[in-house]
């Protein structure tokens, strides 16, 4: 990148005082081609780095920083992996959260994209961030001293910032960083300057950025949360220990998403929480028998209750997240006709969210988590216990796969919708088995198995979701009629939405046979068998 920043660290105790230009000029000679010139007074900058809870920006190689100085407006700066500036925008106060969707407290401490001013910054962030909120992930205060590097015409050819960062109050300052910002049209001079600094004593090229430094000082590292099952199992480890490890990891994910769900920061906290609960329930159903006697039976109803608690809010989220698409699909009605329906959904969601938050704040919930964690920690880990993790995984994946094949094979065009709903449940069980035991298999074969299953699941999901949404739509219309405030145009628009859902459901039903044939074909079957065929122990 031609205008990428070049960053260096001044090391050694004596260099820690090298903040001002005069000292730096003595310590880091850049003559005879260039000379240093101090530029203005040192300035304290408050820095806040923002990312989504699941590090979408970091994973995409982006860094978003909110900087504020004693004078002048705060500014958002979006940079790439090499530190090059992608977009910058003055920060304004985050706009108020949409009514009924987020708590005021959540709105103060997080930023939904819609709260950022329109412009290139938001455009760059939108495809990466999606529906997630931006949260502060690290904070620091920097004392920045600006220097200019002049050529023999006394023309500025680069700007250099000497940045001394304190990542936390009362924490020691980190060694100063030298950041070269090239001037347009003077990139080769900036490269030359970087070479001079590289060769200078006491100066090393920075190996980590300020975000990584600030995170390290806070005891964190980027990417420390993922919604995926991220444990690594050993094929020969006892199955009970492996299952306990996976379930403990799912409990970590579940607990990590509780505060964000209660504060209603964004819809994905609840989504990830629900996925962790569903995976836990499936894990208990699929492999609970290898855990100590009575453990699965004791906790399965508890996690079912937890899942049920989260369902109403998520249902409303699904509606609201898809609302714009739903409104855009209207042909006869206008999208404005649907707005009273959106308001109804938002009101209902607010009620359900309060109910959910109350449930998660109930003292019984942390007790459940504590008991579950202790029970999993107490699972015996004797190395000689049988079966092994791989043997269990092979057996359970094959069993789940056989059930999908058997249930799917008897479905005909005349089958009742319930048959497809049941098949969807079987497919989910297989999917969770593949995810829970995924680390035991060759990544390529595993990815292929998941991909083939996902195509079938998508079709079954559309079929059932459209059915549920149609039923709900009728119920919503009834509620709104009972309130006696719904305009006729809104009911007509909702009718058009229902017709669209029926068309989608019909299309999914027509697609099913082909999708199932692809999944259940000899190729797919042999791949699953090959993947799980090398059972050991």
């Amino acid at each position: 990148m031609r205008d990428a920043l070049r960053e260096f660290v001044l090391d050694g105790a004596t260099l820690c005082a090298a903040g001002d230009g005069v000292t730096l000029a003595g310590l880091v000679p850049v003559g005879p081609r260039f000379r240093w010139q101090p530029d203005g007074r040192p300035c304290a900058i408050r820095r806040t780095w923002l990312d989504t809870f699941d590090w979408r920006l970091y994973r995409a190689g982006l860094t978003l920083e909110l900087t504020s100085r004693p004078r002048g407006p705060a500014e958002y700066r979006l940079t790439g992996r090499d530190g090059e500036l992608i977009a910058a925008q003055p920060a304004t106060q985050p706009a108020a959260a949409p009514a009924g969707s987020r708590s005021p407290r959540a709105a103060q401490q997080s930023w939904l994209l819609s709260a950022l001013p329109e412009g290139p910054l938001r455009e760059q962030l939108a495809p990466v961030v999606g529906v997630r909120a931006l949260l502060p992930v690290a904070r620091a205060v920097s004392t920045a001293r600006q220097l200019r590097v002049l050529n023999d015409d006394d023309k500025t050819v680069a700007r250099v910032t000497v940045d001394q960062m304190t990542p936390a109050p009362k924490a020691p300052s980190l060694p100063p960083r030298l950041v070269i910002t090239p001037l347009r049209g003077y990139y080769s001079q900036a490269d030359r300057l970087a070479q001079l600094l590289t060769a200078a004593d006491g100066v090393t090229q920075a190996s980590t950025g300020p975000l990584e430094q600030a995170l390290a000082a806070a005891g964190r590292h980027p990417g420390d949360y993922t919604g995926k099952v991220s444990v690594r199992l050993e094929p020969q480890q006892p199955a009970a220990a492996a299952v306990a490890t996976v379930l403990t990891s799912l409990l970590d994910t579940l607990e990590a998403n509780v505060p964000g769900t209660i504060r209603d920061i964004d819809t994905e906290f609840l989504h990830d929480l629900r996925v962790a609960v569903r995976r836990t329930r499936s894990g208990l159903k699929l492999a609970g028998d290898v855990l100590p006697a009575g453990l699965a039976a004791r906790f399965r109803p508890e996690f079912k209750r937890l899942g049920d608690l989260t369902t109403p809010t998520r249902d409303m989220d699904v509606y609201l997240l898809g609302f714009d698409g739903m409104a855009a699909s209207l042909v006869a009605a206008s999208s404005a006709d649907l707005e009273p329906f959106r308001a109804h959904l938002a009101r209902k969601r607010a009620v359900e969210q309060r109910q959910l938050a109350r449930g998660l704040r109930n003292p019984k919930f942390p007790l459940l988590c504590r008991d579950w964690r202790e029970a999993l920690a107490a699972v015996p880990a004797s190395r000689r216990a049988r079966p092994t993790a791989r043997a269990l995984a092979d057996q359970r994946i094959r069993k789940a796969h056989r059930r999908v094949l058997a249930d799917g094979a008897v479905i005909t065009p005349a089958s009742a919708p319930e048959a497809l709903h049941d098949l969807r449940k079987r497919a989910k069980e297989l999917r969770y088995a593949l995810e829970i035991f995924g680390s035991l298999y060759d990544p390529g074969a595993h990815w292929q198995a998941v991909r083939e299953l996902k195509a079938l699941q998508d079709c079954l999901g559309t079929f059932q979701d459209t059915q549920v949404q149609t039923d709900e739509l009728r119920a919503f219309a009834g509620e709104m009629m009972a309130g006696q405030t719904v305009p006729a145009a809104t009911l007509l628009a909702m009718g058009e939405v229902a017709a669209g859902l029926a068309r989608q459901q019909h299309a999914a039903r027509s697609e099913f046979a082909g999708r199932f044939r692809d999944f259940a074909g000899p190729g797919g079957q042999s791949r699953i068998l090959a993947m799980t065929g090398e059972a050991r122990g």
């Binding site: 015409d153 006394d154 023309k155 001037l183 347009r184 049209g185 003077y186």
Partner: protein
């Protein structure tokens, strides 16, 4: 993107000083500014301490083998870039002559910079030529420095008539008196009466002050090294009138 051009058929009337100071003031107001020094004498380029050289010269720019974007240099000031002069610009007329629709060529060259700059200021060489005609077509506002003589008013009328003959877009004209010597009665009279009579003449006037000449010694806009001087205040007043004419925001 608004395009200003400092234009006068005569030399030594303060075009470059105006272009440089207005570019600095526009950038100071937060606009992203590009100053294109079209004069092969390279005075604006010199004032910003930039070497008067463009790879491939004016030919590469006009023929499109080098984009304007690639030739731009950052100045010492935030938000202010410069497209340097090159001695080959003396041949720009010849190069334009061989281009298709030469009077529209400059506008076409500048179009790709639309997303990167809010303000472009063209500092023109003193002449009446194909280049100046292309500048007049590209500009949104012409800034015309006038020496306070009755002849200069006649020149302004000639320019106005010439632009009235343009088909399609016509630039607005903002003439202003430059190098005013307040000790001279004629200067004082013309500088006071004409702006009241004509809408295309600014009320702001630029006095003849030695501090403006110091720009070539200090190699910086007077508005940067002596921002409280009478000269700087005059340029600020002129910038405000020019920005208003182009519908741009400006500071107080």
């Amino acid at each position: 993107m608004k395009i200003f051009a400092t234009y006068n058929i005569k030399g030594g009337v303060g075009k470059t000083a105006t272009a440089v100071n207005l570019a600095y003031l526009a950038a100071k107001d937060g606009h992203r500014v590009l100053l294109w020094d079209l004069d092969p004498q390279a005075a604006a380029t010199f004032l910003f301490r930039i070497r008067p050289r463009v790879k491939g010269g004016g030919k590469a720019l006009i023929q499109g083998t080098r984009t304007l974007d690639a030739a731009i240099k950052g100045t010492d000031f935030d938000h202010l870039d410069l497209l340097p002069a090159d001695f080959t610009y003396r041949n720009l007329d010849l190069l334009l002559d061989s281009a298709r629709k030469p009077e529209r060529k400059l506008g076409r060259l500048l179009a790709p910079l639309r997303s990167g700059y809010d303000v472009v200021i063209l500092d023109c060489p003193p002449s009446i030529s194909l280049l100046s005609e292309s500048v007049l077509h590209a500009a949104d506002v012409l800034l015309v420095p006038l020496i306070p003589t009755t002849l200069s008013v006649r020149t302004l009328d000639q320019l106005t008539d010439f632009i009235d003959g343009f088909e399609g877009k016509q630039p607005g004209i903002l003439a202003f008196f430059s190098m005013i010597d307040r000790r001279k009665r004629l200067h004082k009279e013309i500088a006071t009466t004409l702006p009241a009579q004509r809408k295309d003449v600014a009320t702001a006037v630029i006095p003849a002050l030695s501090i403006i000449e110091q720009m070539s010694v200090l190699r910086a806009p007077v508005t940067s090294f002596a921002p409280r001087s009478a000269a700087a205040r005059s340029y600020v007043a002129l910038w405000h009138e020019a920005a208003d004419r182009a519908g741009l925001a400006h500071g107080n």
